[in-house]
């Protein structure tokens, strides 16, 4: 699966892919970056372009290499091969302290022996900015994150949300070329998390700072990102807007990792150019054919359908599948119906239905038909 290391090294030496002062719209460029820890390959020949001002999310399960990638951009690790550039300047060998990068860690890593003002002003002191200027910029930063007045507090005297704001201000006050966020919301409780996400997005957009955001939380990735890179086993599986990732997953892994999905056993009827027709019960579904290359007509395929693309229907109607409601879970705005159906490969079939309909019409134990939109699914060859 992996190219021999020597081959990659010589290729990189022969043609330095990163030229100084490259595309002005590209803030961060990774070119064929590989990083090993002992015998395990954490990143395998990864290339990535991050546009200026965008919020790029690295999404993947733990151990997929996303944090390694962040550490490489931050300068805390050196790649075994490949090049990294920021604003068109090759920085592969530049130490972290000369990279002009702001980072916010999961635990915020505030300096416990310094108060809020000293924490936020740290980067400016290291740059030998004049005292008055430091005071002014620290005050501006604290105003931006709505923490003015807490300058003299020590980090341990702040709540989790306040600590996070201080960490953000500390990273932003140096006007970094790139902002790196390492799972910043995972230590916050749910309500606070949502409001901090909105606020972060607002600040990021206001300042226009290029941001690389690492998370394993797919809903967080979908709601915050301009683009998402789905990372697995040291490689980028798919790169695209949240909608592309959600609607047009490139493989089974991306389809099941991002968002809730139902996997149903269906049959390939025929392939016509870019589209393929898949039969599921009485329903015919049009799916992209690129994921079904080499699958023979009439063979079994796995159909991936998002819960909101499924509709409940009469059991006797000509539908895609039939089953029995196993549970209805009240979610406030809608109701989740879990249905036992023989076609389901992902445990139970999940449907999202409006609250009033879901509660009264489909109690547990009811026989139910499942209908689906004719072109809102994707199929893969069976695993």
């Amino acid at each position: 699966m992996s190219i021999p290391a020597e081959g990659r090294l010589s290729a990189a030496a022969a043609a330095p892919a990163i030229q100084a002062n490259g595309d002005a719209h590209i803030a961060v460029e990774l070119d064929a970056v590989t990083k090993r820890f002992g015998k395990t390959i954490a990143l395998d020949d990864v290339s990535l372009l991050v546009r200026r001002g965008e919020l790029m999310t690295l999404l993947g399960p733990s151990g997929c290499g996303k944090t390694t990638l962040l550490n490489l951009v931050g300068g805390f690790l050196m790649p075994d091969s490949g090049e990294i550039a920021i604003d068109g300047q090759r920085i592969t060998d530049v130490p972290a302290y000369r990279r002009e990068i702001g980072i916010m860690f999961q635990n915020y890593a505030l300096f416990p022996h310094m108060n809020v003002a000293a924490n936020v002003g740290y980067g400016l002191r290291m740059r030998r900015v004049a005292k008055g200027e430091i005071a002014r910029r620290v005050a501006d930063a604290l105003a931006l994150i709505k923490l003015a007045g807490l300058e003299d507090r020590k980090p341990r005297q702040l709540s989790g949300g306040q600590q996070q704001r201080v960490a953000l201000a500390r990273a932003l006050v140096i006007r970094p070329k790139v902002l790196l966020l390492d799972e910043p919301f995972s230590a916050l409780d749910r309500n606070l998390r949502a409001s901090m996400q909105v606020e972060l997005k607002e600040i990021q957009r206001k300042l226009g700072v290029t941001t690389i955001f690492v998370t394993h939380d797919q809903s967080e990735a979908l709601s915050l990102s301009d683009r998402i890179a789905v990372v697995a086993e040291g490689r980028i599986r798919q790169l695209g807007t949240p909608d592309e990732i959600y609607r047009q997953p490139i493989d089974r892994f991306v389809a099941s990792f991002v968002g809730d999905v139902n996997v149903l056993r269906a049959r390939l009827e025929r392939i016509d150019g870019a589209l393929a027709t898949v039969a599921l019960g009485a329903a015919r579904v049009l799916v992209p054919s690129r994921t079904l290359e080499g699958v023979a007509n009439g063979s079994v395929v796995d159909l991936f359908v998002r819960p909101e693309e499924l509709r409940p229907a009469d059991h006797d109607a000509p539908v895609a599948a039939r089953g029995i409601v196993a549970a209805q879970i009240y979610q406030g705005g809608h109701v989740d119906l879990y249905v036992d159906a023989p076609e389901a490969l992902s445990g139970r079939v999940l449907l999202r239905v409006p609250r009033h309909e879901g509660m009264s019409r489909w109690p547990a134990g009811t026989r139910i038909g499942i209908a689906l939109a004719a072109d809102k699914a994707i199929a893969f060859r069976p695993a």
Partner: protein, 272 residues
Amino acid sequence: MPRLPSQWCLRLLGGVIVSAILGFLLLPALVVTLAAFNSRAILSFPPESWSWRWFVKAIAYEDFQAGFRNGLMVTGWASTIALVVGAAFALALERYEFRFKRALETVLLSPLVVPHFTVGLGFLILAAQLGMARGYAVIVACHVVLVLPFVLRSVYISLRNLDPRLELAAASLGAPPHRVLTTVTLPLLLPGLVGGWLFAAILSFNEFTASLFVTVQRTQTLPVALYNYVREYADPSMAAISVMYIVVTATLLTLANVFLGLAKVLNVEHPR
């Protein structure tokens, strides 16, 4: 509240045992303290009349004064050198992976299991070979070896409690390595460094067994001076010195606990 008689008995027994242990720990100190205030010229217990005269005599005694000065000097050098060496080794053991790491750790901690007289005798023989048996250097070197494990341990634990992300954050904010060290690492390690130094100093100042081998009349430290005194005299000056020892050490430890929080130096807070 325990109701059963058997439970009540167990509690009583437990209380008695704990009191007995504490009593045994404190009894010698108590006896010596009382003996120090005896006005008569023999070490006896309990005293029949009370006086400060042995404190005055002990402080004025020239051998004790010299021993005190020698001891302070040896302690100052030994614990400071041990701090620098121990901190460097602690850093190496905590931060880096290398061959023979376990072996190095074992060797560095070995003075905990090797008897002090062995260490002292070893240094005496070695120093005689090198022709420096009468100097302070040998005593200092000997003490460095003996207190090193304690400094190493204390600095190592402080390092373990230091979140490496703090140093990464500082670096990302533009701090070159030496400024990360002075603005983040050292300030956060300070309790461990001071605590380690203090333990080393107390141990070194009290060290007797090995010191007996490597000191001579001119260079003897206070514990050795006390030993030489007690071989010839048996008056309560000894006890008076002991009381001063206890008071000073206890005061130092209490202050260290208040200002540094010794718990921080002795425990790993969040094991990785």
